[in-house]
């Protein structure tokens, strides 16, 4: 992350929404203990999910939720980049394309015809993309949704002009620190934890489920090794491997290419 120059006396915050479910914006509103403190430190200038009044830019910090899926969104994100000193994409949609990026593997015109009575009225881009596919992003906060603690860490770091400290290693490390028994070893449950970035607090393993990979690929994920183990030892089929990799972060490398590889081997 580039440490920006000094922010304004009371930095101005903008929160943008693109194609998304609003869940990451709700994580900001759910910062119940910190929200008043946050409002004291920064001016919440543009945050339509929270207040109707929208103050014009420029802004010091922009948080971006959602993927870029329409021409209008493309125009808006380019304007947002011009308006914000620091732009942070938050959540799987903004950092990876999100669940809607699954359409990138499908025929979008067929979808339009099937769903809308007047498909010609639908203006959409060929693919749903992460924000970084369009503009320079200063920092990416992973997760579906983002983790509240991590959000506070990023905002605190920006306000203190220090680097945020967020892990990029595997979920396993967070999971074992928390004393959760490995679901792969003790329950034979396929789990994406070993190839997924930590940050959620090992939410699913805590409830005896395998990790779904909401936080995207860890720093050096050995997908091939895990995939081979799943197929050989856990009876996970190739189509199932494709589905496991193509969820919230399926359009993010190296999940994307790996899922393509598994898919191409079924239909050679």
């Amino acid at each position: 992350m580039n440490i920006p120059g000094p922010l304004s006396q009371k930095p101005r915050l903008a929160v943008y929404k693109f194609s998304s479910c609003d869940g990451c914006q709700l994580q900001i509103l759910e910062l119940e203990d910190e929200l008043l403190e946050l409002a004291g430190e920064i001016e919440i200038a543009y945050f339509l999910e929270a207040r109707r009044q929208a103050l014009p830019g420029p802004y010091d910090i922009g948080l971006v939720e959602g993927s870029i899926s329409t021409p209008a969104e493309e125009r808006l994100i380019r304007q947002a980049r011009k308006d914000c000193k620091v732009l942070v994409s938050i959540g799987a949609c903004a950092t990876a394309g999100g669940i809607q990026a699954l359409r990138n593997w499908a025929d979008i015109d067929a979808y339009k015809k099937r769903i809308y009575p007047r498909p010609e009225w639908i203006a959409t881009l060929d693919v749903a993309s992460p924000i970084a596919g369009y503009v320079y992003i200063d920092f990416e906060l992973r997760g579906c949704p983002v983790n509240k603690r991590q959000l506070v860490e990023v905002l605190s770091a920006l306000l203190a002009q220090r680097r945020p400290h967020l892990p990029t290693y595997s979920l396993c490390i967070e999971c074992k620190r928390a004393g959760i028994p490995c679901v792969m070893v003790a329950r034979k449950t396929p789990c994406l934890g070993p190839i997924t970035q930590a940050g959620c607090g090992a939410l699913c393993p805590k409830f005896n489920r395998g990790c779904y990979g909401c936080f995207g690929p860890a720093e050096t994920p050995n997908i091939a090794a895990l995939g081979r183990f799943f197929q050989e030892e856990r009876n996970v089929s190739r189509p199932a491997m494709v589905r496991m990799l193509r969820s919230f972060n399926g359009y993010l490398e190296p999940f994307k290419t790996s899922s393509d590889d598994y898919e191409q081997c079924i239909q050679p």
Partner: protein, 385 residues
């Protein structure tokens, strides 16, 4: 064998031991059954122990099963080790706070919060060896006062392993299965009763308050047989003869790449290892920049950040990270601390999600090691060994 100072107590006496320890302000930590595995957590009485359960362990596989004999300690261990209590996975080192903005004075709090006095129940021989290794690594008051204090206060109620697990190899590492040192009281399950050995003055003072009788010659013979049989039934074997030299010679071996094709670099092995001691220290500030905290976390040599120097991680390849872990554990540890870093507990084998077996990998290097070590560079030669 008749000189063996073995006493016999009946099973309910164990509840008295727990009561006496609690009366002496100890926090009792022992094996409990949680989420289908053995976990060390706070216990109060005999009923909290996983009586009648045993574990089946294999590479990448752990299963807790109902056993026919209702033993109190009929299992080996889960992923947890006592490291979790002596050297906690997350610990607030200190905090600082100030009332006003930048360049104003601040207060520092909680520099030395003392650990509780733990009584560890069911400590195995390999685990005592592991604590002995941690003593050498982080045991000094300067390095980790919390560890030192917890270590000095702790009461060790050890248990001899009479049924080793499928991934155990303490015999190879010369750390078990019999508990021979650094314990207060040691139990051995002899049918419905416990054989008790006293290992310290603290242990003796507690033992005096129990109803016991000396063991008969037959019971001593049973004790000997059970431990002998346990030694013969290790699930794994690691040939340690010349092992550090072997690994030194194998530094450039292509086998590291072969292991890396399976290794997930997830770090599970380091988290469950009872002697892996690496940590990271992380500072954080709050939104107002009035409060700062310093936290210490368990770290792992399998993360990129671990070897991040200047501009990049110097162990980018997974092969180089596995090599760092294994050679440190089995070879460089000897140079650094005068002992192997491995106690043969088998946790890294059981809890590796894909079942990589350190004993099998070490044996593999015996087949392929070159006859001589890779020559040292002039820089390495200049370094004191």
């Amino acid at each position: 064998m008749d000189k063996l100072p073995l006493h016999i107590v009946r099973r309910p006496e164990l509840d008295r031991v727990f009561g006496l320890l609690r009366d002496n302000a100890y926090t009792l930590i022992g094996p409990t059954r949680r989420d289908g595995v053995i976990q060390y957590s706070e216990i109060r009485s005999l009923a909290d122990l996983p009586i009648g359960y045993s574990d089946r362990q294999a590479p990448g596989s752990y299963e807790l099963v109902k056993s026919e004999t209702p033993r109190c300690f009929g299992f080996v261990h889960g992923a947890d080790s006592w490291k979790r209590f002596l050297f906690p996975p997350k610990r607030r080192v200190f905090g600082a706070s100030r009332q006003a903005g930048p360049k104003t004075p601040f207060d520092i709090d909680d520099l030395r919060s003392p650990p509780p006095a733990y009584a560890f129940v069911g400590v195995r021989a390999c685990e005592i060896a592991a604590i002995g290794i941690l003593d050498k690594v982080i045991g000094s008051e300067l390095l980790d006062p919390f560890y030192r204090q917890a270590r000095d206060k702790m009461f060790v109620l050890a248990v001899n392993c009479i049924e080793p697990g499928g991934t155990c190899f303490c015999v190879s590492m010369n750390t078990g299965p019999r508990v021979t040192r650094s314990f207060d009281l040691c139990l051995t399950e002899l049918g419905e009763e416990f054989g008790v050995e006293v290992g310290s003055e603290r242990g003796a003072a507690l033992f005096k308050q129990l109803t016991s009788r000396p063991a008969t010659a037959a019971e001593k013979e049973l004790f000997r047989l059970l431990l002998e049989r346990a030694s013969e039934r290790m699930g794994r074997h690691l040939e340690t003869e010349g092992l550090p030299e072997l690994l030194r010679k194998s530094i450039e071996s292509p086998r590291w790449q072969t292991i890396a094709s399976r290794c997930l670099a997830c770090g599970n092995c380091t988290m469950v290892c009872p002697t892996c001691f690496c940590y990271n220290v992380v500072d954080s500030t709050d939104l107002k920049c009035r409060k700062a905290e310093r936290w210490r976390y368990w770290d792992s040599c399998f993360t990129l950040e671990f070897s991040y120097l200047g501009a990049t991680s110097v162990r980018y390849e997974i092969s180089s990270r596995y090599r760092q872990w294994m050679t440190h554990k089995l070879a460089w540890w000897h140079d650094q601390f005068g002992t192997s870093g491995c106690v043969g507990c088998g946790r890294c084998i059981t809890w590796c999600p894909v079942g990589i077996d350190i004993t099998a990998e070490a044996a593999g290097f015996r087949e392929t090691a070159p006859p001589r070590a890779v020559p040292l560079t002039p820089q390495q030669q200049a370094m004191p060994s």
